[in-house]
Symmetry: C2
Subunit: 190 residues, 2 copies
Amino acid sequence: MSHSREDVISAAGRLFARDGYHGTSMRDLGRELGLLGSSLYSHVQGKQELLVAVVERGAGFFQAAADAALAVEGPASERLRRLIAGHLDVMLDHRDEVRTYLNEARSLEPASRERVVAARDRYEQAFRTVLKEGVADGSFRDDVDPKLAGIFVLSILNAVDRWYEEDGGLDRAALASQIADMVERGLRTG
Amino acid sequence: MSHSREDVISAAGRLFARDGYHGTSMRDLGRELGLLGSSLYSHVQGKQELLVAVVERGAGFFQAAADAALAVEGPASERLRRLIAGHLDVMLDHRDEVRTYLNEARSLEPASRERVVAARDRYEQAFRTVLKEGVADGSFRDDVDPKLAGIFVLSILNAVDRWYEEDGGLDRAALASQIADMVERGLRTG
DNA sequence: TCCTAGCAAACGAACGTTCGTTTGTATCCT
DNA sequence: AGGATACAAACGAACGTTCGTTTGCTAGGA
Protein backbone atom coordinates (compact mmCIF):
# COMPACT_ATOMS: atom_id res chain seq x y z
CA MET A 1 0.00 0.00 0.00
CA SER A 2 3.06 2.19 -0.16
CA HIS A 3 3.68 4.69 -2.92
CA SER A 4 6.82 5.56 -4.78
CA ARG A 5 8.05 8.83 -6.16
CA GLU A 6 7.29 7.30 -9.54
CA ASP A 7 3.62 6.92 -8.60
CA VAL A 8 3.42 10.56 -7.65
CA ILE A 9 5.00 11.76 -10.88
CA SER A 10 2.70 9.69 -13.04
CA ALA A 11 -0.38 10.81 -11.14
CA ALA A 12 0.84 14.37 -11.57
CA GLY A 13 1.13 13.75 -15.31
CA ARG A 14 -2.44 12.52 -15.37
CA LEU A 15 -3.86 15.52 -13.53
CA PHE A 16 -1.66 18.17 -15.12
CA ALA A 17 -2.71 16.82 -18.52
CA ARG A 18 -6.37 16.91 -17.61
CA ASP A 19 -6.71 20.03 -15.48
CA GLY A 20 -3.52 21.95 -16.12
CA TYR A 21 -0.80 22.84 -13.63
CA HIS A 22 -2.65 25.73 -12.05
CA GLY A 23 -5.86 23.74 -12.12
CA THR A 24 -4.37 20.93 -10.04
CA SER A 25 -3.79 21.26 -6.30
CA MET A 26 -1.52 19.14 -4.16
CA ARG A 27 -4.65 17.93 -2.39
CA ASP A 28 -6.16 16.87 -5.73
CA LEU A 29 -2.99 14.96 -6.40
CA GLY A 30 -3.02 13.32 -3.02
CA ARG A 31 -6.64 12.30 -3.46
CA GLU A 32 -5.74 10.69 -6.78
CA LEU A 33 -3.37 8.40 -4.88
CA GLY A 34 -5.50 7.94 -1.77
CA LEU A 35 -3.26 10.23 0.24
CA LEU A 36 -3.36 13.63 1.82
CA GLY A 37 -1.77 16.48 -0.05
CA SER A 38 0.81 16.89 2.65
CA SER A 39 1.88 13.27 2.36
CA LEU A 40 3.27 13.91 -1.10
CA TYR A 41 6.11 15.85 0.48
CA SER A 42 7.60 12.55 1.59
CA HIS A 43 8.28 11.88 -2.08
CA VAL A 44 8.93 15.23 -3.73
CA GLN A 45 10.11 18.63 -2.69
CA GLY A 46 7.17 20.53 -4.15
CA LYS A 47 4.67 21.00 -6.90
CA GLN A 48 7.02 22.68 -9.34
CA GLU A 49 9.42 19.74 -9.13
CA LEU A 50 6.60 17.49 -10.29
CA LEU A 51 5.95 19.66 -13.32
CA VAL A 52 9.63 19.62 -14.19
CA ALA A 53 9.75 15.83 -13.92
CA VAL A 54 6.67 15.29 -16.09
CA VAL A 55 7.68 17.78 -18.77
CA GLU A 56 11.26 16.57 -19.02
CA ARG A 57 10.00 13.03 -19.32
CA GLY A 58 7.88 14.08 -22.28
CA ALA A 59 10.75 15.91 -23.90
CA GLY A 60 13.02 12.90 -23.42
CA PHE A 61 10.63 10.53 -25.17
CA PHE A 62 10.53 12.75 -28.23
CA GLN A 63 14.27 13.17 -28.43
CA ALA A 64 14.85 9.42 -28.19
CA ALA A 65 12.36 8.80 -30.99
CA ALA A 66 14.00 11.43 -33.19
CA ASP A 67 17.46 9.98 -32.67
CA ALA A 68 16.20 6.55 -33.69
CA ALA A 69 14.45 7.89 -36.79
CA LEU A 70 17.48 9.87 -37.93
CA ALA A 71 19.68 6.79 -37.71
CA VAL A 72 17.68 5.00 -40.38
CA GLU A 73 19.47 4.55 -43.71
CA GLY A 74 17.81 5.20 -47.04
CA PRO A 75 15.99 8.11 -48.65
CA ALA A 76 15.05 11.21 -46.69
CA SER A 77 11.37 10.50 -47.27
CA GLU A 78 11.77 7.27 -45.31
CA ARG A 79 13.37 9.06 -42.38
CA LEU A 80 10.54 11.59 -42.50
CA ARG A 81 8.02 8.76 -42.31
CA ARG A 82 9.88 7.37 -39.30
CA LEU A 83 9.88 10.75 -37.61
CA ILE A 84 6.13 10.99 -38.12
CA ALA A 85 5.42 7.46 -36.92
CA GLY A 86 7.77 7.92 -33.98
CA HIS A 87 6.11 11.14 -32.96
CA LEU A 88 2.72 9.47 -32.97
CA ASP A 89 4.02 6.52 -30.96
CA VAL A 90 5.41 8.82 -28.31
CA MET A 91 2.21 10.85 -28.16
CA LEU A 92 -0.09 7.89 -27.86
CA ASP A 93 2.09 5.84 -25.53
CA HIS A 94 2.77 8.74 -23.17
CA ARG A 95 -0.23 10.91 -23.62
CA ASP A 96 -0.23 12.57 -20.22
CA GLU A 97 3.43 13.50 -20.25
CA VAL A 98 3.18 14.76 -23.82
CA ARG A 99 0.10 16.83 -23.21
CA THR A 100 1.73 18.36 -20.17
CA TYR A 101 4.90 18.96 -22.16
CA LEU A 102 2.95 20.67 -24.94
CA ASN A 103 0.53 22.74 -22.89
CA GLU A 104 1.97 23.32 -19.43
CA ALA A 105 5.61 24.15 -20.13
CA ARG A 106 4.74 27.81 -19.75
CA SER A 107 4.14 27.20 -16.04
CA LEU A 108 7.73 26.12 -15.58
CA GLU A 109 10.08 28.46 -13.78
CA PRO A 110 12.43 30.23 -16.18
CA ALA A 111 15.46 28.00 -15.65
CA SER A 112 13.71 24.74 -16.48
CA ARG A 113 11.58 26.34 -19.15
CA GLU A 114 14.70 27.39 -21.00
CA ARG A 115 15.97 23.82 -21.00
CA VAL A 116 12.67 22.59 -22.35
CA VAL A 117 12.57 25.21 -25.09
CA ALA A 118 16.08 24.22 -26.10
CA ALA A 119 15.04 20.57 -26.26
CA ARG A 120 12.04 21.50 -28.37
CA ASP A 121 14.26 23.40 -30.79
CA ARG A 122 16.63 20.46 -31.03
CA TYR A 123 13.73 18.16 -31.83
CA GLU A 124 12.33 20.49 -34.46
CA GLN A 125 15.81 20.58 -35.96
CA ALA A 126 15.54 16.86 -36.71
CA PHE A 127 12.55 17.50 -38.95
CA ARG A 128 14.27 20.41 -40.63
CA THR A 129 17.38 18.34 -41.31
CA VAL A 130 15.47 15.55 -43.01
CA LEU A 131 13.50 18.02 -45.09
CA LYS A 132 16.70 19.73 -46.16
CA GLU A 133 18.17 16.38 -47.18
CA GLY A 134 15.09 15.66 -49.24
CA VAL A 135 15.40 18.97 -51.05
CA ALA A 136 19.12 18.41 -51.60
CA ASP A 137 18.68 14.96 -53.15
CA GLY A 138 15.85 16.16 -55.35
CA SER A 139 13.05 14.09 -53.84
CA PHE A 140 11.37 17.19 -52.41
CA ARG A 141 10.61 20.34 -54.41
CA ASP A 142 13.36 22.88 -54.18
CA ASP A 143 10.95 25.65 -53.27
CA VAL A 144 10.14 23.83 -50.04
CA ASP A 145 11.17 25.91 -47.04
CA PRO A 146 12.47 23.32 -44.56
CA LYS A 147 11.76 25.50 -41.56
CA LEU A 148 8.19 26.23 -42.57
CA ALA A 149 7.47 22.71 -43.74
CA GLY A 150 8.84 21.33 -40.48
CA ILE A 151 6.55 23.58 -38.51
CA PHE A 152 3.55 22.47 -40.58
CA VAL A 153 4.27 18.79 -40.08
CA LEU A 154 4.76 19.24 -36.35
CA SER A 155 1.57 21.28 -36.19
CA ILE A 156 -0.40 18.39 -37.61
CA LEU A 157 1.32 15.90 -35.33
CA ASN A 158 0.97 17.85 -32.10
CA ALA A 159 -2.69 18.53 -32.75
CA VAL A 160 -3.39 14.81 -32.97
CA ASP A 161 -3.64 14.77 -29.21
CA ARG A 162 -6.58 17.16 -29.41
CA TRP A 163 -8.87 14.95 -31.46
CA TYR A 164 -7.61 11.43 -32.00
CA GLU A 165 -8.75 8.43 -29.99
CA GLU A 166 -7.12 5.13 -30.68
CA ASP A 167 -10.17 2.96 -30.13
CA GLY A 168 -11.98 4.13 -33.27
CA GLY A 169 -11.77 2.79 -36.80
CA LEU A 170 -8.49 4.51 -37.62
CA ASP A 171 -5.54 2.78 -36.04
CA ARG A 172 -2.24 4.37 -35.27
CA ALA A 173 -0.40 3.07 -38.32
CA ALA A 174 -3.20 4.16 -40.65
CA LEU A 175 -3.16 7.63 -39.17
CA ALA A 176 0.61 7.78 -39.58
CA SER A 177 0.40 6.95 -43.26
CA GLN A 178 -2.50 9.30 -43.87
CA ILE A 179 -0.38 12.10 -42.47
CA ALA A 180 2.81 10.99 -44.20
CA ASP A 181 1.03 10.56 -47.55
CA MET A 182 -0.56 13.97 -47.48
CA VAL A 183 2.65 15.61 -46.35
CA GLU A 184 4.72 13.84 -48.97
CA ARG A 185 2.35 14.85 -51.74
CA GLY A 186 2.77 18.40 -50.55
CA LEU A 187 6.54 18.16 -50.68
CA ARG A 188 7.64 15.91 -53.50
CA THR A 189 8.81 16.94 -56.90
CA GLY A 190 6.82 16.30 -60.07
CA MET B 1 -10.26 57.80 -16.06
CA SER B 2 -13.36 55.65 -16.09
CA HIS B 3 -13.41 52.11 -17.42
CA SER B 4 -16.03 50.25 -19.39
CA ARG B 5 -17.08 46.64 -19.31
CA GLU B 6 -15.38 46.44 -22.69
CA ASP B 7 -12.05 47.45 -21.16
CA VAL B 8 -12.32 44.72 -18.58
CA ILE B 9 -13.11 42.03 -21.12
CA SER B 10 -10.24 42.96 -23.37
CA ALA B 11 -7.80 43.11 -20.47
CA ALA B 12 -9.09 39.69 -19.45
CA GLY B 13 -8.38 38.43 -22.95
CA ARG B 14 -4.84 39.73 -22.72
CA LEU B 15 -4.13 38.07 -19.38
CA PHE B 16 -6.00 34.85 -20.01
CA ALA B 17 -4.05 34.49 -23.25
CA ARG B 18 -0.73 35.09 -21.55
CA ASP B 19 -1.14 33.37 -18.18
CA GLY B 20 -4.18 31.16 -18.60
CA TYR B 21 -7.49 31.37 -16.76
CA HIS B 22 -6.28 29.72 -13.58
CA GLY B 23 -3.03 31.64 -13.78
CA THR B 24 -4.84 34.98 -13.75
CA SER B 25 -6.37 36.44 -10.60
CA MET B 26 -8.95 39.16 -10.35
CA ARG B 27 -6.30 41.26 -8.62
CA ASP B 28 -3.94 40.75 -11.58
CA LEU B 29 -6.72 41.88 -13.83
CA GLY B 30 -7.45 44.93 -11.75
CA ARG B 31 -3.77 45.87 -11.69
CA GLU B 32 -3.70 45.65 -15.51
CA LEU B 33 -6.34 48.40 -15.56
CA GLY B 34 -5.02 50.40 -12.63
CA LEU B 35 -7.84 49.19 -10.39
CA LEU B 36 -8.32 46.93 -7.43
CA GLY B 37 -9.55 43.44 -8.09
CA SER B 38 -12.74 44.12 -6.22
CA SER B 39 -13.49 47.13 -8.40
CA LEU B 40 -14.02 44.87 -11.38
CA TYR B 41 -17.28 43.75 -9.84
CA SER B 42 -18.78 47.06 -10.82
CA HIS B 43 -18.48 45.89 -14.43
CA VAL B 44 -18.89 42.13 -14.43
CA GLN B 45 -20.51 39.52 -12.26
CA GLY B 46 -17.42 37.39 -11.86
CA LYS B 47 -14.34 35.83 -13.35
CA GLN B 48 -16.12 33.03 -15.18
CA GLU B 49 -18.30 35.55 -16.98
CA LEU B 50 -15.15 37.16 -18.33
CA LEU B 51 -13.89 33.87 -19.69
CA VAL B 52 -17.22 33.23 -21.36
CA ALA B 53 -17.17 36.67 -22.95
CA VAL B 54 -13.63 36.35 -24.27
CA VAL B 55 -14.09 32.83 -25.61
CA GLU B 56 -17.41 33.54 -27.28
CA ARG B 57 -15.90 36.60 -28.88
CA GLY B 58 -13.15 34.40 -30.35
CA ALA B 59 -15.65 31.85 -31.59
CA GLY B 60 -17.77 34.58 -33.15
CA PHE B 61 -14.90 36.02 -35.16
CA PHE B 62 -14.16 32.64 -36.67
CA GLN B 63 -17.75 31.93 -37.58
CA ALA B 64 -18.14 35.28 -39.28
CA ALA B 65 -15.00 34.69 -41.32
CA ALA B 66 -16.18 31.23 -42.35
CA ASP B 67 -19.57 32.53 -43.46
CA ALA B 68 -17.87 35.15 -45.62
CA ALA B 69 -15.51 32.62 -47.19
CA LEU B 70 -18.27 30.15 -47.97
CA ALA B 71 -20.26 32.82 -49.78
CA VAL B 72 -17.55 33.26 -52.40
CA GLU B 73 -18.42 31.96 -55.85
CA GLY B 74 -16.03 29.92 -57.96
CA PRO B 75 -14.04 26.74 -57.48
CA ALA B 76 -13.82 24.99 -54.12
CA SER B 77 -10.09 25.59 -54.03
CA GLU B 78 -10.75 29.33 -54.00
CA ARG B 79 -13.15 29.02 -51.09
CA LEU B 80 -10.54 26.93 -49.27
CA ARG B 81 -7.97 29.68 -49.81
CA ARG B 82 -10.43 32.20 -48.41
CA LEU B 83 -11.07 30.02 -45.38
CA ILE B 84 -7.33 29.81 -44.76
CA ALA B 85 -6.71 33.53 -45.22
CA GLY B 86 -9.77 34.36 -43.11
CA HIS B 87 -8.60 32.11 -40.32
CA LEU B 88 -5.22 33.81 -40.28
CA ASP B 89 -6.81 37.24 -40.29
CA VAL B 90 -8.95 36.39 -37.32
CA MET B 91 -6.02 34.89 -35.42
CA LEU B 92 -3.69 37.79 -36.01
CA ASP B 93 -6.26 40.54 -35.54
CA HIS B 94 -7.68 39.06 -32.35
CA ARG B 95 -4.79 37.14 -30.96
CA ASP B 96 -5.77 37.28 -27.31
CA GLU B 97 -9.34 36.19 -27.81
CA VAL B 98 -8.28 33.43 -30.18
CA ARG B 99 -5.58 32.09 -27.90
CA THR B 100 -8.02 32.07 -25.03
CA TYR B 101 -10.62 30.39 -27.22
CA LEU B 102 -8.15 27.71 -28.28
CA ASN B 103 -6.44 27.01 -24.96
CA GLU B 104 -8.73 28.03 -22.13
CA ALA B 105 -12.11 26.72 -23.22
CA ARG B 106 -11.59 23.74 -20.95
CA SER B 107 -11.91 26.05 -17.96
CA LEU B 108 -15.44 26.98 -18.97
CA GLU B 109 -18.28 25.60 -16.94
CA PRO B 110 -20.05 22.76 -18.73
CA ALA B 111 -22.98 24.77 -20.10
CA SER B 112 -20.89 27.37 -21.88
CA ARG B 113 -18.26 24.85 -22.86
CA GLU B 114 -20.89 22.85 -24.71
CA ARG B 115 -21.90 25.90 -26.69
CA VAL B 116 -18.29 26.58 -27.59
CA VAL B 117 -17.66 22.99 -28.65
CA ALA B 118 -20.76 23.16 -30.83
CA ALA B 119 -19.49 26.37 -32.43
CA ARG B 120 -16.12 24.77 -33.05
CA ASP B 121 -17.78 21.81 -34.76
CA ARG B 122 -19.83 24.12 -36.92
CA TYR B 123 -16.70 25.97 -37.96
CA GLU B 124 -14.83 22.77 -38.74
CA GLN B 125 -17.82 21.76 -40.83
CA ALA B 126 -17.14 24.70 -43.14
CA PHE B 127 -13.73 23.28 -44.00
CA ARG B 128 -15.17 19.83 -44.48
CA THR B 129 -17.86 21.11 -46.79
CA VAL B 130 -15.43 22.89 -49.06
CA LEU B 131 -13.15 19.86 -49.17
CA LYS B 132 -16.09 17.64 -50.06
CA GLU B 133 -17.05 20.01 -52.87
CA GLY B 134 -13.51 19.87 -54.20
CA VAL B 135 -13.56 16.10 -54.22
CA ALA B 136 -16.99 16.08 -55.89
CA ASP B 137 -15.97 18.40 -58.73
CA GLY B 138 -12.75 16.49 -59.31
CA SER B 139 -10.31 19.21 -58.32
CA PHE B 140 -9.23 17.27 -55.23
CA ARG B 141 -8.19 13.61 -55.26
CA ASP B 142 -11.07 11.31 -54.54
CA ASP B 143 -9.15 9.46 -51.84
CA VAL B 144 -9.03 12.64 -49.79
CA ASP B 145 -10.90 12.16 -46.52
CA PRO B 146 -12.61 15.53 -45.95
CA LYS B 147 -12.82 15.08 -42.22
CA LEU B 148 -9.16 14.19 -41.83
CA ALA B 149 -7.95 16.78 -44.31
CA GLY B 150 -10.00 19.45 -42.55
CA ILE B 151 -8.42 18.55 -39.25
CA PHE B 152 -4.95 18.73 -40.78
CA VAL B 153 -5.53 22.16 -42.26
CA LEU B 154 -6.95 23.48 -39.02
CA SER B 155 -4.05 21.97 -37.12
CA ILE B 156 -1.60 23.97 -39.21
CA LEU B 157 -3.68 27.12 -38.88
CA ASN B 158 -4.27 26.95 -35.15
CA ALA B 159 -0.61 26.28 -34.46
CA VAL B 160 0.35 29.50 -36.23
CA ASP B 161 -0.37 31.32 -32.99
CA ARG B 162 2.38 29.33 -31.29
CA TRP B 163 5.25 30.43 -33.50
CA TYR B 164 4.39 33.21 -35.95
CA GLU B 165 5.17 36.86 -35.37
CA GLU B 166 3.98 39.34 -37.94
CA ASP B 167 6.94 41.69 -37.71
CA GLY B 168 9.40 39.29 -39.36
CA GLY B 169 10.17 38.77 -43.04
CA LEU B 170 7.10 36.68 -43.73
CA ASP B 171 3.97 38.76 -43.97
CA ARG B 172 0.48 37.52 -43.39
CA ALA B 173 -0.45 37.10 -47.04
CA ALA B 174 2.76 35.23 -47.80
CA LEU B 175 2.13 32.88 -44.91
CA ALA B 176 -1.42 32.30 -46.12
CA SER B 177 -0.25 31.30 -49.58
CA GLN B 178 2.57 29.13 -48.26
CA ILE B 179 -0.02 27.21 -46.29
CA ALA B 180 -2.59 27.15 -49.06
CA ASP B 181 -0.03 26.06 -51.65
CA MET B 182 1.28 23.20 -49.60
CA VAL B 183 -2.21 22.09 -48.66
CA GLU B 184 -3.44 22.27 -52.21
CA ARG B 185 -0.52 20.24 -53.50
CA GLY B 186 -1.45 17.63 -50.92
CA LEU B 187 -5.05 17.55 -52.08
CA ARG B 188 -5.28 18.12 -55.82
CA THR B 189 -5.61 15.52 -58.50
CA GLY B 190 -2.85 14.70 -60.97
C1' DT C 1 -29.78 64.75 -6.74
C1' DC C 2 -29.14 60.39 -7.80
C1' DC C 3 -26.08 56.97 -10.12
C1' DT C 4 -22.01 54.86 -10.90
C1' DA C 5 -17.06 53.79 -10.56
C1' DG C 6 -14.01 52.91 -7.42
C1' DC C 7 -12.00 52.17 -2.81
C1' DA C 8 -11.22 50.02 1.72
C1' DA C 9 -12.03 46.33 4.36
C1' DA C 10 -13.34 42.04 5.09
C1' DC C 11 -15.28 37.26 4.22
C1' DG C 12 -14.69 32.16 3.87
C1' DA C 13 -12.39 28.93 1.17
C1' DA C 14 -8.53 27.12 -0.93
C1' DC C 15 -3.72 27.31 -1.89
C1' DG C 16 1.36 25.32 -1.26
C1' DT C 17 3.93 24.08 2.38
C1' DT C 18 5.74 22.84 7.17
C1' DC C 19 5.37 20.71 11.47
C1' DG C 20 5.24 17.17 15.09
C1' DT C 21 3.68 12.75 15.41
C1' DT C 22 2.20 7.96 14.38
C1' DT C 23 2.55 3.78 11.84
C1' DG C 24 4.47 -0.09 9.62
C1' DT C 25 8.48 -2.44 8.28
C1' DA C 26 12.91 -3.69 7.73
C1' DT C 27 17.69 -4.36 10.14
C1' DC C 28 20.84 -5.44 13.51
C1' DC C 29 22.40 -7.09 18.09
C1' DT C 30 22.13 -10.34 21.50
C1' DA D 1 13.93 -15.96 18.33
C1' DG D 2 13.12 -11.42 20.24
C1' DG D 3 13.70 -6.78 21.49
C1' DA D 4 15.77 -2.29 20.25
C1' DT D 5 16.81 0.83 16.46
C1' DA D 6 16.18 3.12 12.33
C1' DC D 7 13.70 4.81 8.59
C1' DA D 8 10.33 5.85 5.22
C1' DA D 9 5.43 6.78 4.54
C1' DA D 10 1.58 8.89 5.87
C1' DC D 11 -1.37 11.53 8.92
C1' DG D 12 -3.71 15.68 10.81
C1' DA D 13 -3.25 20.26 12.13
C1' DA D 14 -1.67 24.53 11.29
C1' DC D 15 1.20 28.10 8.90
C1' DG D 16 0.96 32.40 6.03
C1' DT D 17 -0.81 33.68 1.68
C1' DT D 18 -3.85 34.21 -2.07
C1' DC D 19 -8.16 33.29 -4.10
C1' DG D 20 -12.99 34.99 -5.76
C1' DT D 21 -16.33 37.59 -3.90
C1' DT D 22 -19.30 40.76 -0.83
C1' DT D 23 -20.30 44.80 1.70
C1' DG D 24 -20.49 49.64 2.87
C1' DC D 25 -18.91 53.95 1.85
C1' DT D 26 -17.19 58.09 -0.83
C1' DA D 27 -16.40 61.06 -4.54
C1' DG D 28 -17.64 62.92 -9.10
C1' DG D 29 -20.39 63.54 -13.23
C1' DA D 30 -24.99 63.74 -15.57
